[in-house]
Symmetry: C2
Amino acid sequence: MERKAISLHDKLSSFTEHWAPKVVADYNGNDVIVVKVKGEFVWHSHPETDDFFLVLKGRLTIQMRDGDVTLGAGELFVVPKGVEHRPVAEEETHLLLIEPAGTPNTGDPATAVAKPRI
Amino acid sequence: MERKAISLHDKLSSFTEHWAPKVVADYNGNDVIVVKVKGEFVWHSHPETDDFFLVLKGRLTIQMRDGDVTLGAGELFVVPKGVEHRPVAEEETHLLLIEPAGTPNTGDPATAVAKPRI
């Protein structure tokens, strides 16, 4: 195994695209992911998994049908499985996500993006 | 469910003890934990689970039998299941941990501490 610290700053400095999640580590079959987001994502849900968000930089609103949660840097929220949500960021925002490997980011394999390892 | 951002800073400000993990959120049956550490923990391993460490503040060395990894703020490392390790921090260091609910922090239920929710 590789014995090396994973710097979130270095990983985030290595790409510029928005809504293009990158896998940086594994935890028990879950992908540990960094992503840069700006603007509105699509409404979606994950019937089989909770959705973990930690804001590293910026500000993220997670819209849900019964109320929104807004996260600043150093704040986290777990969207429970099956709960419809839409992430929205007015400014470029950097996130740490954790989700089971293979989870489609849109909730739908037909529209999901691949998540390369960096 | 509670629709509320979880501030890691606020959670960490609410206690002072070292090596006293506190659960702040759930993710798919895993505890999301904050903990303040200083000094040396015990050598241990978790045969059934990987061990996720993210340094929020300070500096942590994770000693392993075949080499150490040192993490600063914004750096993470996942100790693979079964790998013997000992966390050591010279200064007070704040960590985010993720582990399956019920995982003994020492690897041994007989010596493990309880993890209250805050």
